[in-house]
């Protein structure tokens, strides 16, 4: 077996463990009680949910993201970089037949993604609040994710980096359900409850009421 085949197995095993870990996490949270809200609806819950998963995530919608727009946009680029790196991973066996423009688009996105990812470590170290809040898992999670994006970037430019990309993928895969990166699983739950709760009460995502000016 060549190095590509061996490292590909490492990546697949890592991702399989990741999937297993995520499924266990999902099983745990789905086994927790879920109580129906017995109070009468004031707003439309559906509109609250729609808002939570769409416009509610726009950088101008929340005061926090308006104030910390650099931090928020860094996070957006970082996450777009992560998803793109996963795309690179998926198409990695066929990199040679990809059109040039797609390769370069991937290079730009993963390049910025990795840059903004590593910048996150710097911001975490330099911000007094973030420093107090952070634990080793925070630094390792951001580093691993950024490194994963950086290797996606490198693979697009230099296909010889592919075996390293596969190994790092395996490591990241194992770490996802164990460390902070697992927030990707819970994000959908917390956004659901946010939209449901505040939508039900008519606080977010509603059309103008009869007393509005």
């Amino acid at each position: 077996m060549d190095s590509i085949a061996i490292t590909r197995i490492i990546a697949i095993v890592g991702l399989a463990l990741c999937l297993l870990g995520i499924l266990l996490r999902l099983k745990t949270i789905m086994n927790r009680p879920f109580k129906k809200d017995l109070s009468r609806e004031r707003g439309l819950t559906g509109r609250g949910l729609l808002f939570a998963f769409t416009l509610g995530m726009a950088p101008w919608e929340k005061e926090s993201t308006r104030i910390h727009w650099i931090s928020y946009m860094r996070g957006i680029f970082f996450h777009v970089g992560i998803f793109t790196a996963f795309g690179v991973l998926l198409v990695s066996p066929w990199l040679e037949i990809l059109p040039n423009w797609l390769i370069w688009l991937g290079v730009v996105i993963t390049g910025f993604g990795a840059l903004f990812g590593f910048a996150g470590i710097f911001m975490r170290l330099s911000g007094p609040n973030e420093r107090v809040l952070s634990v080793p898992d925070d630094y390792v999670s951001v580093f691993l994710s950024s490194f994963f994006i950086a290797l996606g970037f490198a693979t697009l430019l230099w296909p010889s980096a592919l075996p390293v990309f596969y190994v790092v993928t395996g490591i990241v895969g194992v770490y996802i359900p164990l460390g902070k990166i697992r927030h990707c699983v819970y994000f959908f739950f917390s956004k659901f409850f946010f939209g449901k709760g505040f939508g039900h009460r008519g606080v977010i995502g509603q059309s103008k009421g009869k007393y509005a000016e």
């Binding site: 929340k62 911000g127 080793p136 898992d137 164990l178 739950f189 946010f194 008519g202």
Partner: protein, 454 residues
């Protein structure tokens, strides 16, 4: 101990207390709580959404820091990595040091106003986490003294200030007599225990004890609107400090008392006095505490006043309130209940110069009086300090009157006014409405006037 005020023996963590607190966490760990405990990425952008942080920017005032204290305990108990390598993920035992920290963060520096919830990019419900921490502490008798006493008095006496029925009825009747005399209209009524009245109205006991003129304001509004309303002597306290102590059983008991009173009177609607947390408790939380839906509707007095104005049931003259007015949105009505347009609609109809604070509505800053803070004297300095954000907001409006629709807000705003030397008057919304009402001259008085002229 982190605070000398908590040196009492009951604040010592025993093994028995520790396991009881952990049981409470285990029982309350539902999908929503787990999602909030797991999803935080500790980005810290919630910092500026908290009035404690805005008034005194230090890491301990970041909402994520507060929630992190309970998360540490959660990880140690429920996360495999937290059990194996606690230092790696920030997991910690529930020990004396942690309990002290939880008291200071959950009770001492959070009003559960929900501003950080609205502002969290991940949707973390820090209110929920903090209330869970409070519930754990309350279960092991570590609730700060004032809050504990408020809940106990309510459970024992039926209202949180221990007002007896005789005093309650006498105060209301006294206010009725004064209102009749003031308006020269003996037809004004304040009915007690009227069967099948459409509306049952509640009071915050502070109105009976310290602000009886608010009884007059409410009575004037109901009578002017021609409402079919009543008060109950069975249960009338709009407050529910179980919301703040985290004690769902106590909260359910208090809510059930009101439910029973409304059911016995056969009313269609329970109207909550201008009391933010009372509204939130009875409107949004109570049915979930009790475990069934009410057969009647629960609304805030603010909503009802807006409705009366919209329906043209109140004749109003806004020139009677000519001073510049700003409005403080109670967190439990606006952010936690969606009542944002109604008070503004009311004010546009009852005052001539209304000016908004920045920010306002759902994003309004908490005044610092929520979360049961006014009952916890141990934290009064921190509470006043946290009011600086609100004081700055008020000053910037140039208003002479700050209107609000919550008693805890009213008291805290009054303290802020004195502490920060603001030249403003703090008033309830209903006072401004009542003042703007043009009272129809009663037929007898009209006749008398005509006779005098002749």
């Amino acid at each position: 101990m982190t605070n000398e005020k908590f040196t009492d023996k009951r604040f010592n963590l025993t093994d028995e207390k520790k396991s009881l607190a952990i049981d409470v966490l285990r029982q309350r760990l539902n999908r929503q709580l787990e999602a909030s405990l797991e999803v935080c990425v500790r980005c810290g952008v919630c910092a500026d959404s908290c009035h404690y942080y805005v008034s005194n920017p230090k890491p301990e005032h970041v909402p994520a820091y507060r929630a992190e204290q309970l998360r540490k305990v959660y990880r140690k108990l429920f996360d495999p990595v937290g059990k194996a390598a606690p230092g790696w993920v920030g997991a910690a035992e529930l020990d004396q040091e942690m309990v002290d920290e939880l008291i200071m963060t959950a009770f001492g520096s959070c009003t559960m106003c929900g501003r950080c919830v609205i502002n969290c990019p991940m949707g973390v419900d820090t209110r929920h986490i903090v209330r869970t921490a409070r519930a754990m502490l309350t279960a092991i008798d570590m609730t700060p003294g004032g809050l504990k006493a408020t809940v106990n008095v309510h459970l024992e006496k039926g209202n949180n200030m221990g007002v007896n029925e005789e005093d309650y009825v006498e105060t209301v009747e006294w206010m009725l007599e004064e209102l009749q005399a003031e308006l020269g209209d003996p037809s004004i009524t304040i009915p007690f225990n009227k069967k099948n009245a459409r509306v049952v109205y509640t009071f915050n006991p502070r109105e009976i004890k310290y602000f009886p003129y608010l009884i007059q304001a409410a009575a004037k509004i109901f009578n002017a609107a021609g409402e079919d309303w009543t008060l109950s002597t069975e249960s009338w306290d709009a407050t529910n400090y179980g919301l703040f102590s985290g004690d769902d059983a106590a909260a359910a008991q208090m809510a059930s008392n009101l439910e029973g009173a409304v059911n016995h009177l056969g009313a269609e609607t329970l109207v909550m006095a201008e009391c933010g947390h009372g509204y939130r408790s009875q409107r949004w939380e109570a049915e979930n505490w009790i475990g069934h839906s009410y057969p009647f509707e629960v609304i805030s007095f603010v909503e009802l006043q807006a409705q009366y104005i919209k329906e043209g049931r109140l004749k109003l003259d806004p020139t009677r309130n000519q001073k510049r007015v700003t409005f403080h949105d109670p967190c439990n009505q606006a952010r936690n209940g969606g009542i944002v347009d109604e008070p503004r609609y009311i004010l546009r109809n009852v005052v001539t110069d209304f000016v908004e604070m920045t920010p306002h509505g759902v994003e309004n800053y908490c005044c610092g009086g929520g979360g049961g803070m006014l009952s916890m004297t141990e934290f009064s300095n921190a509470r006043k300090e946290a009011g600086k954000a609100k004081a700055d907001q008020i000053s910037a409006t140039g208003a002479e009157i700050v209107a609000t629709s919550c008693h805890n807000c009213l008291d805290q705003l009054d303290e802020i006014k004195r502490h920060y030397k603001l030249k403003v008057k703090i008033q309830n919304l209903s006072e401004l409405v009542a003042n703007a009402i043009v009272w129809p001259t009663p037929p007898e008085a009209e006749e008398e006037k005509t006779e005098e002229k002749e």
